[in-house]
Symmetry: D2
Subunit: 433 residues, 4 copies
């Protein structure tokens, strides 16, 4: 199975980049591809079953492009919750379009998909190199954002009004599904506009990606909060530092924060169920730990332990995600109750640093990653590719069709080496049930 | 009025520091004093009324000391909530005692005043240069802390058992009152032990001090949270970043955070009452601001606006302070309600970074300040002074009797230049009532 | 002796700030003054000699102002080497003029005093709130800077051409002397323009000031370099970390860096001479230390040990300062030579972080300090004061005549408590000669 | 070609980790392998030529181990220049051995390979969890380091004396070649000791690795220096910030620093030659840029432009590397000369932050990476593997034989996407010759 990328048509224009690469083999073709599964078993399967495995087209500049730079307009939209690196992506797209492809008509759409609904009254922001040159030093998005879908028909109407040829969409799961619909609506009308996504999820849970942008920054910031929780835990008799971190479906931030800071004694994630009660449950093992060490640090991903609470899983938020119970507050209450009953003094301090974690500026690592995602999103768009997103797989930037990534989520494998490393460094019970 | 410092008796030993200062006029005497009020009006009063004003003895090493280093033992206790710099103080005292005065028997008492109550079972920690050499790079206190008073009789019994001659107490208001009682009990028994305080309050509200240690670090950390609130506010339509900061009686952290980051549109402090309702109240002016600018950042000190909530002010916490209502949660609710009623979409993000702010390591500024407080606390103790604390007044380190600082609190003067500077930089209404 | 501030004339306009302070006693008058020497001895002298001592006028807004906001123009110039906080000062002046006094015609002069010499071709930059709103998050100065004086006649000609009424000058020693000349030339012509200085010296060596802006940031940054030198020193057998820091005449940065990080074993400053040779000289005591501890960290201020080198002290740099020998390179060479001769392996790593230290953004502490300096510079200017600068003395912002501060330099007193604290924490020999 | 890992013999002991993974498929076997080249072309080659390509054994815990934990001793040595993460590696190895495998006899060898030469007099440091628990918060290595090889016979003699079964070597190129020799000498004697390497190179230039530890930290720190160079360049007329960064053979740090900060106008690396003179040379294009923009930032890797200087390439340093000319100082001189001749004022500021970059503590990203390298080094050692190192290839931790990585260096491909991204973001001429 090749991951086939939709294309607007034949590339008839010579890339303005050709002067830069003159004599160097700098352009990519559709022949450059990487395989999804690089294990020997995977390759053996290919060997026997004849290349039927998944592989991705490599990203990069194309020698011939679809759009005529002089007549091309572009727009950028950022959707969903904040994530470090959004401004880097915006800046990177603008700079690449402007300086490398000479595309100078670029709009920033305000407040997510709302910015494509004229009656909302959000006027698009013209973007130029001067207006974005230092934005990567700030967190958030200069365009603003919003949650939730909008009507694809209305949105494509507005794209036509604005004359937008290239639409860059930065957002998560739901946003990318919205991008699919916009792309479908454009196709339905026979339009020659392309839609390129840059997947955003601070939880790092997008399939077919090494990592999502902003994740490096986010867990580094989480480490600071966990270090503070550790200091608080040490600072009083039977101190407990309890930190709720992001991670609706996947515990990547929690795991990396635990591994980096080396302060965490319990790391609770959605992928690994745990019990409160019983001899191996959180509460009894915590009692044992406090008796022995007098302090403990607990990190819990927001999606962990949902089965322990009575949640109506039919409720959804503005983005259409099921509403989660607040596992942090829940644990705080249960732990306090448990020790009060046993007349054991504990000093629990609760931390919920999510808004701080997601709104800091991108780390240098993410600065680089976002820039390269942005540069390659522009290359893909100018080459007339559409309905796809830019991702990194096994250290190579690739093109991935929308429908592939919106099918599932990346999760931590309880038998895999990441979770094992966490168990080794926290020393928590392997099974808490 | 001189601020008279109690003394254990005649200083009969030559300071081991005399070799260091040989030929240099490095020692201080009791004649070195600074006046409290250095305004022309203040001095004119002195001029006319003959030196009746308050003045403080300068801190510093004395040429002759009271205690014989070879036979002297010391103990350190840290009490109350965490504050950046506690470990710096501990380290500074140990290093000064050990390396400069050759006092080698030093105890760290565990978990605040509880550490002086043997039946609590907290074994004192012997402190040596090796065990404290890097602790200033971590937040919190290696000794642990606790809130609330203990029986002075029991505590002095234990000091006698341990043979502690010098007791260093680091803590706030209540702790210093506890120190007064310990000192009184020692005097009652005719003991020759001294009690030296180092005042701690992250709120910066101690009287007769330029500033309290940890404050510089704390507001710098608060600035980061406020910057994130600003990013969040900008990141969505009618975004509101609401940050609750420390400050039970005084709004210093909130004011400095507002001045430093330049992001704050409303700074609400205990010293300046405000109304929610009415044309100049918070809610209406916020509505006006959102209509004009689409985002707002509000910083509120925890002790602000207590009159707006129905609080039973007779309730107290473990330290004996009246329990405050949670003004942050209260404002969050009132603001949400107000705009919901008017069907105006707002996106409020609430931040409560207090535990993070107080548990980070000290800034270089506070490293220096804590070290100098610690060094001078040791000088005072070795000279047989007692019932006093080390403070800084008008850039000079001085000795202040316990009873002076526990009489009141330093507060922000609404007509003074600090509050004016805040008003100038937030642009908030001068009167919100 | 009062420090008398020159004034352009009678203040006939009501301050636009009066609405803000209605009912509050927020304005300052010339009666508000602080005395320079607040020691008991100092006050006793006043008492006996009748108020003949130095005292300063307090800064702050005046109820009546000299300039009519609607007809007033201002200009800002930054001179000399970079220092953290320059952009904060620029931003603060612009915001205060614009938002509080409704002065909207503000120029930024480019590249120091060169910006006042038209034939240099530097076009003044119009400054507005939008153009300065985030500049405090960056180091350096958006206006650029240059060293050295320019002809006062030419400069005042250009001020007249531009119609500048208020000139704000940010710079050091030489710059302020230049400001005096501009002021004198304006007076000579009978002009009604004012010149307000904000003293800048990263070395913290300006007389009559508690501290200079940027100093807090600078030594905090220096601490980082010294910590790295410590890591390098520990990282190899007989490792020596040698760090040259700023401080032409005064060792404040070196001393504070030593106190804050607690890594320094030798702190060498201009105020305290030291010998290389002899039993108490640097080299022999260093040999002893390495034999005992295997590593050492040396911090040297750039102006220290100049007597040890053969320097032609008649040479001067562009700012007119005598050229210093490079004591860092000199010590590196001498130390290497000394140990090579004795066939002792040492691993010396040399650090010269000055350009990094001076170009970082201001710390929150300095953000606040710069803002308040800027706000008060504007208050003074609008009130028609001239030939003066804004400083902080004993925690109060005051007006100081130019000629007072350019008379001398603040230096570290070898018998004072700062240097004693350094000796106590480095453990270096008291006398190295 | 399989990358075959040498083994000490049959694994007869059950891993103490089996309790942790009971019921989970947590152990790895030698069947788990990843292919080196995951491009379609690569796989097609395999397909046609029958699995002859390079593939690596996956790292991870083995169900059966070679060494009996109760009788096993280990030692760690760190060699060569400092690199962020060394202490993380030490800590990770100690914690894993102690807590997971119950190996409690662990030595830290002092000052690199010198620590294995008894007559050097460096006593091994016993390492325990308490002694390493916070070392990852500091830069450098607690063991010290040294450059250069030692006699393998002497070293193995000492390993036998100490009874060391597992030797962990952290170092670069030369160090790993030394490790090969130690391993060979052990084999020659028929010993049952294993040698496991963890490759260290701040330059990120080791073959067959996604990245080397410390690189993320290093370039992030480099970004700070480059940002300061940018501030300095902007701060004066025709300001030039010239930064020399690490990178003897490969320009990774320079390229990543350029991409992250977005300040760099010229990025000069060893892989891409450049001329000083001529219309496309550095000097003329720099003149053009200054005329247009008035400032420029140049980053140069230490190994770049060596052909421009007259260097005797036969000279080598203590590690046996050819001595490089100082390209930073050389450019500084040439640029100054060029503009002086043309009487154009430039203000060049030169930065050499290498010692600062390499001695900071590891970033959270590197904390995690180092921990996982350390954990897997212990897994490999306990399983009796030897003569190999732990690396990461395409996001998977793998075992790589020593001889493979010491054959060559990873370099930046001038036609590859990393260099293209740099060209796109600096805007520098593609060919400067």
């Amino acid at each position: 199975m090749e991951a086939i990328i939709e294309s607007l048509g034949e590339c008839r224009f010579l890339s303005p980049l050709r002067h830069r690469f003159a004599g160097m083999n700098g352009f990519r073709t559709e022949e450059h591809r990487v395989i999804y599964d690089d294990s020997i078993e995977g390759v053996r399967d290919i060997f026997e079953r004849g290349l039927s495995h998944l592989h991705f087209e490599m990203a990069g500049p194309r020698e011939k492009i679809y759009f005529d730079p002089a007549k091309t307009s572009a727009a950028i939209v950022t959707c969903g919750g904040l994530c470090p690196g959004l401004n880097d992506i915006i800046r990177g797209i603008v700079m690449e379009l402007y300086h490398r492809y000479d595309v100078t008509r670029i709009f920033g759409l305000r407040y997510g998909y709302e910015g494509l609904i004229p009656r909302r009254g959000h006027v698009p922001l013209p973007l130029r190199p001067e207006s974005v040159s230092t934005i990567h030093t700030f967190g958030g998005t200069i365009l603003g954002s919003s949650r939730g879908p909008q009507d694809p028909v209305e949105m494509v109407d507005h794209l036509e009004e604005l004359g937008v040829d290239l639409l860059f969409i930065v957002g998560g799961d739901g946003t990318l599904r919205g991008g699919e619909k916009i792309n479908a609506e454009i196709r339905r009308r026979g339009g020659k506009r392309c839609v390129i996504g840059i997947p955003k999820t601070i939880d790092n849970d997008i399939m077919y990606l090494d990592k999502s942008f902003g994740f490096d920054t986010a867990f580094a910031e989480a480490v600071k909060a966990v270090a503070c929780a550790h200091v608080e835990a040490l600072g009083s008799m039977n101190g407990i530092g309890l930190v709720r971190l992001m991670g609706r479906h996947s515990g990547f931030i929690s795991c990396y924060a635990a591994l980096a800071g080396q302060h965490v004694n319990y790391c609770l994630i959605p992928e690994v169920p745990f019990a409160l009660k019983g001899p191996c449950g959180l509460l009894e093992t915590l009692r044992y730990r406090l008796a022995k060490r007098r302090h403990a640090v607990i990190v819990v991903a927001e999606g962990a332990g949902q089965d322990l609470m009575n949640i109506n899983s039919a409720d959804t938020d503005a983005s259409g995600n099921p509403k989660l119970g607040n596992i942090g507050e829940f644990l705080k209450e249960k732990i306090t109750e448990f020790f009060e009953k046993r007349r054991i003094e504990v000093n629990l301090k609760y931390f919920d640093p999510s808004y701080i974690i997601r709104s800091v500026p991108a780390s240098p690592q993410d600065n680089v990653y976002c820039l390269r995602l942005a540069q390659n999103a522009v290359h893909a768009a100018m080459a007339g590719k559409t309905g796809m997103l830019i991702g990194q797989w096994h250290s190579t930037l690739v093109h991935i069709p929308f429908e592939l990534v919106t099918q599932g989520r990346r999760r931590i494998e309880p038998s895999g080496d990441l979770w094992q490393a966490v168990l080794e460094c926290t020393g928590q019970p392997v099974r808490m049930s």
